[in-house]
């Protein structure tokens, strides 16, 4: 579906340099701290910014040269951009109807009502959560094959976040060829949704792994200093000194569980992944 090959983009001191791929029917997540390069990556995929090097293709077409037809099959929700806040949902329906031949008015109207979004109010009167829900619904309103969502849950409370994630899940259920690219710095959002995850730090991919492999095989070993000296470090990705000894981040927790009876292993989520892979030494 989407192929990013050796993408390079310079912004002063910041340099983005990465490759990634979103396969058909895949839900791919991008995690990373603020300023890691998530939005820049997404904007390059959407052809909004021009790469200094490399290629971004969507179904084989260069991102900058996508035709209207190609773009009709992409649904986008950006974190800091959307329709003018002066408009209401009624206005937006009229615009989308003319913009996308496949616009599903019944679905869109019903979903807006279900989420409690008033039809005639200007968006500027909406709460942050309502705006985020509207942006997500707009992206899903025209049966896109590819959904690109930049931080769709940023700044929301747990309930609103779950509402949006459930909206995406329902969207996926409709057609199993639909693909999603979603970024977030709240990684727990992505654990229960994405098939694979790219961890981006300082403009580079630090790790790419299937989500279930992260949850099943990655873990944090908690060991004393003496135990740390003797520990077989073949599968330790990062270690960090703590008050009690060392926290070691591994991608083979079962190996350590079998060979070191009694060792304390915590299952790691993607949050640990970010913390350990972008912080520790």
């Amino acid at each position: 579906m989407v192929k990013v090959e050796n993408l390079v983009k310079n912004y002063g001191n910041f340099k983005l340099e990465l490759s990634m791929e979103i396969a058909d029917g895949r839900v791919t997540g991008i995690v990373g701290k603020n300023g890691a390069g998530k939005s820049t990556t997404i904007k390059s995929i959407l052809g909004l910014i021009k790469p200094d090097g490399g290629h971004v293709t969507i179904n084989g077409v260069e991102a900058e040269r996508l035709s209207s037809r190609d773009k009709e099959k992409i649904g986008v929700s950006l974190s800091d951009s959307g329709f003018s806040m002066l408009l209401s949902i009624r206005d937006i329906i009229c615009i989308l109807k003319k913009m996308y031949p496949a616009f599903d008015e019944a679905f869109f109207t019903n979903s807006c009502k279900a989420q409690g979004l008033p039809m005639n109010k200007q968006i500027k009167e909406y709460s942050t959560g309502m705006r985020a829900k509207l942006r997500a619904l707009i992206a899903m309103s025209h049966g896109a094959q590819l959904l690109v969502m930049d931080e769709p849950t940023a700044g929301l409370d747990v309930e609103a976040r779950n509402d949006i994630l459930d909206m995406i899940r329902n969207y996926l259920r409709e057609d199993d060829k639909r693909s999603v690219l979603i970024s977030s710095h709240i990684s727990s959002d992505l654990e229960g949704l994405c098939d694979d995850i790219y961890l981006i730090h300082d403009g580079k991919v630090v790790l790419h792994e299937d989500t279930d492999a992260i949850l099943d095989n990655y873990g944090v070993l908690k060991v004393s200093e003496e135990a740390y000296e003797q520990l077989d470090k073949s599968y330790i990705l990062r270690s960090r000194k703590d008050s009690f000894g060392y926290s070691c981040f591994t991608n083979e927790k079962h190996y350590y569980a079998e060979n070191n009876p009694g060792i304390v292993i915590e299952n790691s989520g993607i949050d640990d992944l970010i913390l350990m892979m972008t912080g520790g030494n």
């Binding site: 959407l46 035709s67 773009k71 800091d80 615009i95 200007q122």
Partner: protein, 216 residues
């Protein structure tokens, strides 16, 4: 294209009060002033409203989302020129109606003969849009206004300098002016249209280049 026009229409209609005030002012002006000034006035207002849709697109970083929708950058530019033209013609028709009706009531339609000449109001004022669109696209809303002010300042300076040149010595423009004076009405109208078309063409090409280079 249809979606973009719909968007700009909606953005325009959102400002109901502004438009209502403009229309009332136009009516008032038509009543209080004798001449056909009202026609140019409403057309000018429509131009200001139409070009300001670019500001609304830019507001709150909206451009990034707009350009994810199914059209290319060239189409965005083309729509702005088309929307401005639609607005100019619409406002002009409204202005003519106000002018014509009032003229019929007051002067038994003595001034209606002026209407063919008033057709030139559209290209003349559309030229303002042709200058404003690329400026707004290039500089953004705030700086665009400033650039426009600077540009008009420069034009005034040039005109003043030019007129002093004309007054002081042998008038190089006199021949041109004389030739223009001699032209029949139809020909001069055509000339204005041709001038506007050329300016719009150049402006459009500049705008396309500007937007194609932009990053959002």
């Amino acid at each position: 294209m249809r979606g973009l026009i719909e968007k700009d229409l909606r953005l325009t209609l959102v400002r109901k009060q502004t438009i209502a005030i403009f229309l009332l002012m136009a009516l008032f002006m038509g009543l209080s002033m004798k001449g056909s000034f009202v026609v140019s006035y409403v057309t000018m207002l429509a131009m200001i409203i139409a070009t300001s849709t670019i500001s609304y697109d830019e507001y709150d970083n909206g451009m990034a989302f707009i350009f994810t929708m199914p059209f290319d950058r060239r189409t965005y530019v083309r729509e702005k020129y088309l929307f401005n033209l639609i607005m100019a013609i619409g406002a002009w028709v409204f202005g003519i109606l106000v002018y014509g009706i009032l003229d019929l009531i007051r002067n038994n339609g003595a001034g209606l003969g002026e209407i063919p000449m008033l057709v030139t109001v559209v290209p003349c004022i559309y030229m303002v849009a042709a200058i404003m669109i690329p400026l707004q696209l290039y500089f953004g809303t705030e700086k665009g206004r400033l650039a426009l002010a600077v540009l008009f300042g420069a034009i005034v300076v040039v005109v003043m300098a030019g007129s002093s040149v004309i007054k002081s010595s042998v008038n190089p423009l006199a021949a041109v002016a004389k030739a223009l004076d001699g032209l029949p009405v139809a020909a001069s109208i055509l000339l204005v249209f041709a001038g506007a078309a050329i300016l719009t063409g150049i402006s459009y090409l500049c705008s396309v280049r500007i937007v194609e280079k932009k990053e959002f």
